[in-house]
């Protein structure tokens, strides 16, 4: 770790102001950033901790039935309190281990957009809205590829709004070492159609499997996916699996998610 300063603002406004300074970086739960700092792979001058901002924490359901989760809410809290959206709570409860879940936050995960993270698939499959200090961004516009999002410099995820689906399920096939998603598929069925989002598999990060969505929208059963497959062209290939294997797993995990969603 290199030397850095740290500030702990108690409001979003103060955090935004602090992030305006040169080489300042937001610190959520630190589950990616702290190991990166320890390995001296980043050298921010100032860390702006978002952990003390009360207005960014908590889970509630709005009058419109949308589940609202503060950007600074930990996975552990989501797992325990997002009871209105069981598939999302289950996803949060299966991220990492208890230590990770007690520190890591939904806002941090979405802002980082790790291609193997779980949350991006939930946000994309749910058609969630990412609310920042300046604007609202639809999930479809938010994820711009591996570790890349629509967020501007210094922009903070204050809240994430999830329309609650009729049925949903997340299936994660774990990479054996890290237990991140080698392939994770989130399926969500809404009155106006089904959305399927895939994480872990693609070089472009989380993506929607639109062919599966179309098939499932007309017949929400795993048999609707028979004979369907995603292309392996843009899939990640590494020591844990070939592109073809990941493409295959997308099909398997999607079927399982549909079956489990019931």
């Amino acid at each position: 770790m290199y030397n850095f300063d740290i500030v702990r603002p108690s409001s979003v406004a103060d955090a935004v102001a602090a992030l305006g300074e040169e080489d300042a970086q937001a610190l959520g739960g630190g589950q990616t950033l702290i190991p990166t700092l320890k390995q001296r792979l980043a050298s921010p001058a100032k860390l702006v901790s978002l952990a003390g901002i009360a207005e960014m924490k908590g889970v509630c359901t709005g009058d419109d039935g949308v589940l609202c989760i503060g950007g600074g809410t930990t996975h552990g809290t989501v797992a325990a309190e997002a009871t209105a959206y069981p598939a999302l709570a289950a996803l949060a409860g299966n991220i990492g281990d208890p230590a990770v879940r007690n520190r890591g936050t939904i806002g941090g995960s979405l802002a980082n957009n790790d291609p193997s993270a779980c949350y991006p698939s939930a946000a994309l499959a749910s058609g969630a809205t990412i609310v920042t200090n300046t604007r609202e961004i639809a999930a479809d516009d938010f994820f711009e590829g591996m570790f890349t999002t629509a967020l501007n410099e210094g922009e903070i995820i204050c809240e994430v709004r999830f329309p609650v689906p009729e049925k949903a399920n997340y299936q994660k096939f774990e990479q054996p070492a890290s237990r991140f998603a080698l392939v994770g598929v989130f399926v969500a069925k809404y009155a106006d159609g089904v959305r399927v989002a895939v994480t872990g598999a693609s070089n472009d990060g989380v993506f929607r499997w639109t062919e599966a969505e179309a098939a499932l929208s007309s017949n929400f059963s795993s048999s609707a996916l028979d004979g369907m497959s995603v292309s392996s062209d843009d899939m990640i290939a590494d020591m844990h699996g070939s592109a073809a294997y990941r493409a295959h797993l997308v099909g398997v995990m999607t079927k399982r998610a549909v079956a489990a969603a019931g």
Binding site: Q39, F173, P176, A177, S178, L182, M239, G241, S242, Y245
Partner: protein, 787 residues
Amino acid sequence: MPKDHGIGASSKRREDVRFLTGTGNYTDDINVHGQLYVHFLRSDVAHGRINKVDTAAASEMPGVVRVFTGADFEGVGSIPCGWQVTDRFGEVMQEPPHPVLAQGKVRHVGDPIAAVVAESLSQARDAAEAIEFDIDELPAVVDMKEALKDGAPKVHDDLKNNLCYDWGFVEENREAVDKAIKEAAHVTTLELVNNRLVANPMEPRVAVGDYNRANDESTLYTTSQNPHVIRLLMGAFVLGIPEHKLRVIAPDVGGGFGTKIFHYAEEAFCTFAARQLARPVKWTSTRSEAFMSDAHGRDHVTKIELALDKDNNFTALRTDTYANMGAYLSTFAPSVPTWLHGTLMAGNYKTPLIYVNVKAVFTNTVPVDAYRGAGRPEATFQLERVVDKAARELGVDPIALRRQNFISEFPYATPVAVEYDTGDYTATMDKLEEIADIAGFAARRKESEAKGKLRGLGVNCYIEACGIAPSNLVGQLGARAGLYESATVRVNATGSISVMTGSHSHGQGHETAFPQVVAEMLGIPEDQIDIVHGDTARTPMGMGTYGSRSLAVGGSAMVRATEKIINKAKKIASHLMEASEADIELKDGQFTVAGTDKSVAWGDVTLAAYVPHNYPLEDIEPGLEETAFYDPSNFTYPSGAYACEVELDPDTGKVTVERFSAADDFGNIINPMIVSGQVHGGIAQGVGQALMENCVYDENGQLLSASYMDYAMPRADDVPFYSVDHSCVTPCTHNPLGVKGCGEAGAIGSPPAVINAVVDALQSGGHDVTHIDMPASPSRVWAAMNG
């Protein structure tokens, strides 16, 4: 009724009180007044020529005391290799130098280029970034067969090529084996890889060097399984410090698995720098450094052929193995693929003709050396896989084929130069079939298939050679060390005892099990006895703990020393009771005169030894302290039979271990609970090797599996509850306790059981798969299923 103390009792591990409450004293807990910290600048290329290492700017950085480079070690010895193998042509192996810091070239990712010593670790790291170095990257060799081709880049410019040795064993059998294979009714051939592993003890390596100018004494605190070996190798061969001026202390050590046997450059560096600077110097490995500086394990590529006659009797075995040495020869590296591997190729079977060829190869990778089992897992894996494949090819039951070929008469001289003293392989197989419920497998397979899963059963046997070993024999085989063990039993005036052992406990529970033996012999409570180990200043010269040798060799030394204590104590007792020494009996801590009601307590005798007012001073010396050195007359040969049942998800290729059963013959058992724990841990490591762990380099020598993000360690939910049994006992015939050793068995016996089960599962699903290399990860299994 199980015993509640002494030999055979499951006494609770007394060391766990401190291990489980955070009050252990590990090397990193040791901080010496005024200590400095070292950070090693390590090569990020696998192979390169060092043109320049400029430390001027780094030396001016805040807190920096000194920056060392390879040039500072020109008058210093090379990190030595402790075993010299002679090849099949009678030539000694090629043995390159191994400088403390790289000189001229870097030869693997992680090879240390420079070392910064500073007041704080952060300052040392900052300054390391200011070192200006110019390294011309050279083509690297990673694949062993590529490394042996003409024109391959040479890891060591001064050697003829990258071949360390070409070993044949038993060379005289070569032609007869070739002939038998040619004439066999059936030959089963298998090519396989024994995957490279990183040991990953929970505690990373640490070294603290200290130097006392007043008396010219150096002290090294280090995470070692054998502090005396480190003192000898480092003092005599590297730094030139005589033993009476060098103390090596290995306090609580958090797991070793072999990788803490070896003498490492960082130990020599900290000791050397402390003398140069007259201040203590500390190094604590990060986990990332451990991946690229701890000796790795395994990494063999083998072709094995098993010949059978028309009645399915094994007639000959031939193996052709490439063994990766890495970039330098680690302490015992040459012995692992040879004497710890070739000698075990008979396994449990009476195959009359065996020939083993091993080519040891230098590559631009981290040095490879002993890892839990060391050579024996590699031997067992090949043999038990090829036997299983043979059974499938011949359409016979794998268990029946094994039983048919078991060695059944002991002692048995194998065609690979060792003599098994005892064993009963039929008994352990019978026991296995019972505890594994082999008969119920078919029903369990049906249940799995009803869930859409494939289920496989894998069975194998193993034999290992432990208690390494007779010094005169290993000397002939190239060992540059004796392999006896030592113990001093110091009886205190009031009867309590300190046992100073040359063995070292780094998780094995010696502090509990060793007192059980002495307590049994003397008839006093175990809590009257403490074990002292891990400090060259407090223990007699000993060889340490590896190769499952501590009880068989170190325990035997302790028995011999205790016998001397008993003999002397009886003399004292006979004097106190005015009886003939021949009539004195010791039972339950009381000396009695046979046939009378006269007795004196243990404590009366020990007090008399140190307060010799009424004492036969003209016949015997006062005091009660004895030392023994024990050199075994043979290896010990634990054996057993293992069974694994896996469930395989055909959609994803994921394999889960549903049942694992182990029937072991460890000879006599001192503490059954500790033995079970050793087997449990070994199986976890074996399952890890078989299904998860893999150390992977790319073709440029970059380490791809350099952290836990990519190196898959087994976790608690990756293994089932085991069924282990060690009630089959054929006591070792040549050591006083009749013990064989249990530390490595689990890691030796389990990988073939797992892979045999995976192959069985795949074949049950109609997949034409006859072998799958370890680790049988989901992606590999899926690839095997899908051509």
